[in-house]
């Protein structure tokens, strides 16, 4: 590679870890020949991450050498690690070799430990080296004075030998954040991956932070991770926007209700995000389903992310609406995602939604509802909800998806609380729905309150939620005070009783 100055730079090969999300967070992969510390408190997934990387990278030509020191004995580590699907017994003994240095480490002589490691490395010529747990080597040596070598010298020589042997090394260690100060390990290491675990109420949340990675530009911030039987999956905090070559179309997408399309100035602008806010039972989900089904009738695939009920219930409830969502699912035009409640991270949800959109090549997305989404999050993520939602909407609409979201409003009859969690700023368009009292009867009205960059109707219209979907009536121009929830017929309208036509035709 030649830079702008004409110098030839040393190429740094990035090794793919194949740990979902990790390579993206690291800026493309693990730089070859680096010395990376995987640190964190117990139970954060350090050993699993190291093993997952090792099994992924190890081949007969590029074998891995795994040193177990003090801590989890190899017999137990093998027992538990083989529960993960990445564990490949065929690689054990050939591509992956385990060496136990516990006895030597107990003696506390770092010189002997280093000699043993170098001996094994020279005999095996590994491309990948893992030392687990590295902290215990240092701790044991510190307790005995280090024997023939101090910690700093041990680290320098180990790093030098392993790099010179062209090994990419991972040191696994239990460290607390307070250990970061004045600790030579963190200075010598080329990369530091810090794993965190926090417990709040009934949820456990794990996160990864790339503290440093020399020669790379890792994604900043804390990235959620989940440990499943497939190992670790990292959810990068910043979503990549799919490359869209086409310019944003001038097209408008129908909601499936002509009158609402008219109120929106001809439909929802393609690639917009729209929020429908209303109280419980106001028909938000029905309108959302109509929006998705209208797309399907035009051959446009959709995705629905639900949080409050299971997909089969959601789909069966829609059966009354035309052909229903079930028919769309059967035709592969719809995927209904049910995202795990209560310990969800926004990034995890975003990736799942984005993956479903990509799978279906969906142009329409319904998130039903943001209130349920927020409730499904682990408490620790709720603080970041708005910021995360902002990123998600940007990534999806930027990728050519029109996003339809619903949210439940808390309303009183004298106050219009559009959005309890102040999320209205992040959408392009907003429709509000609310109950009003008209002449002693509870009725529903809706209006468009915001459309970014285009004109829209400013009229409030009554509507009903029927078996066939939303039926919208004429504008309620004969009333005042609708926004307060208690409407009064205008004096000059009282002589014109016929103008008050309800959407179901009753008057």
């Amino acid at each position: 590679m030649t830079g702008e100055t004409g110098r030839k730079r040393v190429p740094i090969t990035l090794l793919r870890s194949e740990v979902p999300g990790l390579d993206e967070v690291l800026g493309g992969g693990v730089p070859e020949y680096t010395f990376t510390l995987i640190a964190g408190t117990p139970g954060t997934g350090k050993t699993t991450l190291a093993q997952q990387i090792m099994f992924s990278m190890a081949t007969p030509d590029r074998p891995a050498l795994h040193f177990t020191v003090l801590g989890e004995p190899p017999i137990k580590m093998l027992r538990y690690q083989q529960q993960f699907t990445f564990f490949d017994p065929d690689k054990v003994g050939s591509s992956v070799r385990y060496v136990h240095l516990g006895e030597l480490a107990l003696e506390g002589d770092l010189g002997k430990v280093l000699d043993a490691m170098i001996r094994e490395v020279e005999a095996t010529n590994p491309a990948i080296v893992v030392v687990d747990s590295f902290r215990t080597v240092i701790r044991s040596a510190s307790a005995t004075g280090g024997g023939s070598m101090d910690v700093q010298a041990f680290l320098q020589r180990l790093a030098l030998h392993l790099t010179a042997r062209q090994a990419t090394t991972f040191l696994v260690g239990e460290y607390a954040e307070s250990d970061l100060e004045d600790n030579p390990v963190f200075t010598v290491a080329d990369g530091v991956l810090w794993l965190y675990q926090s417990v709040e109420r009934n949820s456990v949340v794990r996160k990864l932070h790339v503290v440093k990675m020399r020669g790379q530009a890792p994604l900043p911030g804390f990235h959620t991770l989940r440990i499943t039987d497939a190992g670790l999956q990292i959810f990068p905090r910043i979503l990549k926007r799919p490359a869209i070559e086409a310019p944003r179309p001038a097209e408008r997408l129908s909601t499936g209700v002509v009158e609402i399309d008219d109120m929106l100035g001809g439909g929802i602008p393609a690639w917009d995000s729209i929020l429908v806010a209303g109280p419980s039972g106001s028909g938000k989900s029905t309108l959302g389903s109509q929006f998705i089904m209208t797309g399907a009738e035009l051959g446009q695939a959709g995705v629905i992310a639900v949080f409050e009920e299971r997909p089969d219930e959601y789909v069966s409830r829609s059966a009354r609406l035309g052909s229903g969502l079930g028919a769309m699912v059967d035709k592969d035009l719809l995927e209904v995602l049910y995202l795990r409640p209560l310990d969800l991270s926004v990034d995890e949800a975003l990736l799942e939604i984005q993956a479903a959109v990509a799978r279906r090549k969906a142009g329409r997305l319904l998130i039903d509802s943001l209130s349920g989404f927020e409730l499904a999050l682990a408490p620790t993520f709720r603080e970041d909800f708005r910021e995360s939602l902002y990123r998600m909407v940007g990534a999806l609409t930027g990728g050519g998806v029109t996003v339809f979201m619903t949210t439940e409003t808390t309303m009183s009859f004298t106050d219009l609380n559009l959005s309890s969690n102040l999320i209205s700023f992040l959408t392009d368009d907003i429709i509000i729905q609310r109950y009003v009292e008209i002449e002693g009867e509870l009725r529903k009205v809706m209006g468009v309150v915001k459309m970014r960059g285009s004109n829209h109707s400013r009229l409030l219209r009554e509507y009903q939620v029927t078996k066939g979907g939303l039926v919208v009536g004429e504008p309620l121009t004969d009333y005042t005070g609708l926004i307060t929830g208690v409407a009064q017929r205008r004096v000059d309208a009282r002589s014109n009783q016929g103008a008050d036509r309800r959407p179901d035709g009753h008057g």
Binding site: P73, P74, I75, L78, P89, V92, G93, R97, H100
Partner: protein, 145 residues
Amino acid sequence: MRSPAGQTLAAWALASELGDTWERDDLHAAAERACRKLSARLAMLVSVEGYRALLARAVHLAAPKYPFLEGLKGPSANGACLGEPSSTDGIDPSTIRDGLTAVLAGTIGLSVTFIGEELTLRAVHDIWPDAPVTSSGEPAQETHT
């Protein structure tokens, strides 16, 4: 994999180390050889200390039925793997054979318990390529005579 399949495999391994003809004193030597081979291979997976722990447990489990095994102290400084049993004077050779087989079977069985059948049987196969281990991982129901 714990008995009877492990028992069959251990009996096969012991018989394999023993050869076609054997004397009473050869039994312990054959078991010692089998133990060392298992140790060398399994310790690569579970560490030397891990293998010692498995062996000690296997002896402990087999000793109530075969009291002469109580003398087995496991690996010693002179390189022994099993160590010397208590006096076997007056004990029928077939009982000695069964006791030593029980220790080897127990060690293999415990290895299966902890690190799984696949890794353990692969190790056994590496030591004794002709051992009657079928592709399904179960030892064939036959003995080496």
